[in-house]
């Protein structure tokens, strides 16, 4: 860790618009090492846009994004991943025709280095690296217990159940050996039991793997259960920040979710 930075991830006055529509405007927020931060907000509040700006899929129109004190604006997504930010997507994006294990092995791409000659001549170093990639990928699949273990690892990803696809996406992100893990609605489409299970996984990601987690979540049971801090967005702005209790009782947040009448 270098000196001179306090926040692991910091967004300074970030704005992003699509045509006339401001998805983000003047957003300031930060994530500190070892925190689990939840981002909530109604649909269209800019949560996923914020993820895409941080991970380099979009460039911000204004403002700066700092990771470990260094601006990462303009970096290619793969470079940002290499620096230690991994993510999942709101709608599951796997490599559907690769096997479950191969999906996770792709995650290790950025932590390995063998090139064309290694591939063709397959010297001992490449073999060892390939073995290490495989072990690391298996390890990240086994984070989810028996869900992604055994015969499933050799099956194509599209054959998985919906919940398992979500788990595989998280395992693939874990396999990139990240510092900061960004989960976009990890419990969407999961049943209540799976949701509870996943809530425990998110806590374990920090406690066992030592990750910092930034999570977009709609399910308030999960938000309540995991968050050290909650950030609420609406119309691309931060409308509240603090502990779950503070944010959940904030009138602006209730209004954003329920409309003025219900709040009144």
């Amino acid at each position: 860790m270098s000196v001179g930075w306090s926040h692991l991830l910091e967004l300074r006055n970030v704005a992003k618009h699509f045509g006339g529509l401001y998805a983000l405007s003047g957003l300031d927020m930060h994530v500190d090492p070892g925190e689990i931060v939840s981002v909530i907000g109604p649909n269209g509040a800019g949560k996923s846009t914020m993820f895409n700006v941080v991970t380099g899929l979009y460039g911000p129109d204004e403002g700066d994004v700092l990771f470990e004190g260094q601006s990462i604006v303009g970096f290619a997504p793969n470079r940002i991943t290499r620096m230690g930010i991994a993510r999942t997507f709101q709608t599951v994006h796997l490599f559907p025709n690769m096997t479950v294990l191969e999906n996770a092995m792709v995650g290790q791409h950025t932590r390995s280095s063998s090139g064309v000659f290694g591939a063709i001549l397959r010297p001992p170093g490449t073999r060892r690296e390939e073995e290490r990639i495989r072990e690391r990928a298996k390890g990240s699949l086994e984070f989810f217990g028996s869900r992604l273990a055994g015969y499933r690892q050799e099956q194509p990803a599209f054959s998985l159940s919906y919940a398992n696809r979500r788990r595989l996406e998280m395992a693939r992100a874990l396999a990139t050996d990240p510092v900061l893990l960004m989960l976009d609605e990890p419990t969407a489409g999961m049943n209540p039991r799976e949701t509870i299970e996943l809530r425990d996984h998110i806590v374990r990601m920090r406690d066992q793997l030592g990750l910092t987690v930034l999570v977009i979540e709609h399910d308030m049971r999960v938000v309540k259960g995991v968050s050290d801090r909650v950030v609420a967005l609406d119309y691309g702005r931060k409308i509240a920040e603090g502990s779950y209790q503070d944010v959940a009782s904030n009138p602006q947040v209730i209004e954003a979710y329920l409309g003025t009448k219900a709040a009144g």
Binding site: T81, H93, N97, G118, L121, R221, L258
Partner: protein
């Protein structure tokens, strides 16, 4: 009782007759009127006359989905529907024949040059229009009924018969090759192939049919367990794998010795297209970048080999030295060509990095054309000879052993094919192959997972270019002189057809594709003028019947599998429901409403 789909049988029959009229008018039938397959009687022309009713009936009798329910036609329905469609095919064709005869066939020759009195004679069995059409109808009915039965009959009977008949037709078509090989092996071929007609003898044909059908019966009676064991042994046992590999190698080495110079020439061309296919397979099959200008690498490899090995420019008066030329040994020059071609791959890849799919295809198409135009241009004439081209490319001789000889060239090409196969295989099964795969499946996600897509796209173009240039360089050695005419866009299309026919991403598929698209037309010279027609028909058939290709790679097979579509549909429904649930604020937040107040 099964309902008989009379309407679709009639409709299919009309379509079949149109195909038949087309096949007759382009001259395919008359062209093959004298190509005897079995004895004097069975000619390819006659077979073509009855293939459409047979095929149409086969299609009509396939299982169909009615109101979500899959209905398999029984043998009776298959027989009747097949017969109806077959007789309609022949009848409509018969009407066309009568019309052509009435209006005097010579008058339509202005448009259809293949419509000759001889054609009319042939399709009416030389018995006059009336009797001829009667025979056509009866035989159309019979082949339609057979086609229907082939689809709906008892598989235990139809499968061995199909195996037998296709073996006989295949060996009948290979009448110029198999007898030569048999003679080289010291077997007198006369019992199988009649020396007079060159076709299969009736005895030989029946023997082959019985043999092939018997083999099929034996294989299927051995039961799924035995079959699985045999397959597993062949794939998993190291000894068996090495054994199979050695046998394949031995056959590959023996081929030109058995088949002689003419056919070795064809095999050499097959090898060149295997190299092109393998290279293009890296770009299209592995990395998913549709490159329609692949001929650029072929041309680059060929001309670079010419320049590096001291070829001269053709001029009207003789030849003159090229503006730049080295006099290297082939075995040094080839590696230089490969390295430079990889560089050209980077150059071609760089401007198209941001393009995807259709746009990439169109731009690469243009880049391929640019290379051809350059070879013809005045500007590069001092270097590559313009339209007149170059001559005197090295024959790669080692101690006087020239590789220009087709039988020798085959071995040179084989060596490079084996090298390219090895490289393709190792690349596919590596970290790089995995990165390409991920990029092909979802470029943006691959990028977000840490795969540098720019780098891997360029790498795919470089590797694809390097392998493709081998094909070009060997082509230059094979024919010794180059003109721009050899580097038309057709090369790109053929290479792509080779890859697609065999199965994208599959190495055995590339070999199969090259054998079918380059080898068969080369062996059956009668097909030469219909080559493009047959390419088109074969590709359409493959896309409809077997979109994953002849020998698909496992992953691609999955990709096109129905299961995936079903799964995706299910997931989308699920995701939509989830999104709908999430969109209702009370839906998820409602649980916690007490906390909020």
């Amino acid at each position: 009782m099964d309902p008989i789909p009379v309407r679709s049988a009639v409709r299919a029959g009309v379509v079949g007759s149109l195909v038949l009229v087309y096949v007759a008018l382009v001259g395919l039938i008359e062209r093959f009127a004298d190509l005897k397959l079995v004895g004097e009687q069975v000619t390819l022309g006659r077979l073509l006359l009855f293939l459409p009713p047979f095929a149409v009936a086969y299609v009509v009798a396939r299982p169909r989905v009615v109101a979500g329910e899959r209905r398999v036609a029984g043998p009776r329905a298959g027989l009747v529907a097949g017969a109806v469609s077959g007789v309609v095919t022949s009848a409509v064709f018969g009407v066309a024949v009568v019309l052509a005869d009435r209006f005097d066939v010579v008058r339509i020759r202005h448009v259809f040059i293949a419509a000759t009195p001889g054609l009319i004679d042939f399709v009416t069995f030389e018995r006059g229009v009336v009797v001829g059409i009667m025979i056509l109808l009866v035989l159309g009915l019979a082949s339609g009924a057979l086609g229907g039965l082939a689809k709906t009959g008892d598989r235990r009977l139809t499968r061995p018969l199909a195996a037998g008949v296709s073996t006989v037709i295949l060996l009948g078509l290979l009448q110029r090759i198999v007898p030569i090989a048999m003679q080289e092996l010291g077997i007198e071929p006369d019992f199988l192939y009649s020396p007079r007609t060159r076709s299969l003898t009736w005895g030989g044909a029946i023997g082959l049919l019985v043999l092939a059908a018997g083999a099929d019966v034996l294989w299927n009676r051995s039961g799924p367990e035995t079959q699985r064991r045999i397959r597993a042994t062949m794939i998993e046992q190291p000894a068996a794998r090495v054994g199979i590999l050695l046998i394949v190698l031995a056959v590959l080495v023996a081929l030109p010795l058995l088949l002689g110079s003419v056919i070795s020439q064809v095999l050499g061309s097959v090898m060149i297209f295997v190299l092109l296919g393998l290279g293009l397979n890296i770009v299209v099959g592995y990395a998913g970048l549709l490159d329609l200008g692949y001929v650029a690498f072929y041309a680059f490899g060929a001309y670079m080999m010419a320049l590096l090995t001291g070829a001269t420019l053709n001029t009207t008066t003789g030849s003159s030295a090229a503006a730049f030329s080295l006099d290297l040994n082939f075995f040094i020059a080839i590696w230089l060509v490969v390295v430079l071609a990889a560089g050209v791959g980077l150059l071609i890849g760089a401007p198209v990095l941001r393009l995807r799919g259709d746009y990439l295809a169109i731009v690469t198409l243009g880049l391929g054309e640019i290379v051809r135009v350059l070879t013809e241009s005045r500007w590069l004439q001092p270097l590559v000879g313009g339209p007149q081209g170059m001559r005197g490319v090295t024959d790669a001789a080692i101690a006087g052993y020239s590789f220009r000889n087709p039988q020798h060239f085959y071995y040179l090409a084989l060596a490079f094919v084996l090298l390219a196969v090895f490289v393709s295989w190792r690349l596919a099964a590596s970290r790089i192959g995995r990165a390409w795969n991920a990029m092909r499946e979802d470029e943006q996600v691959a990028d977000a997972m840490g795969v540098g897509t720019t780098r891997y796209k360029l790498l795919a173009f470089a590797m694809g270019g390097a392998v493709g240039s081998l094909g070009g360089a060997l082509f230059a050695v094979q024919i010794g002189s180059l003109t721009p005419a050899s580097f038309q866009i057709l090369v790109s299309i053929t290479a792509l057809a080779v890859v697609i026919l065999g199965g994208l991403g599959s190495i055995p598929g590339v070999v199969a594709g090259a054998v079918v698209l380059i080898g068969l037309p080369g062996l059956l010279r009668e097909f030469e003028e219909f080559r493009l027609l047959i390419y088109g028909a074969v590709l359409v058939a493959i896309m409809v019947l077997r979109p994953q290709g002849l020998l698909p790679n496992v992953r691609r097979m999955r990709e096109l599998h129905e299961e995936e579509e079903a799964q995706d549909e299910w997931v989308h429904r699920f995701a939509d429901e989830a999104a709908a649930a999430a969109a209702v604020p009370g839906g998820t937040l409602g649980v916690e409403e007490e906390d909020l107040t």
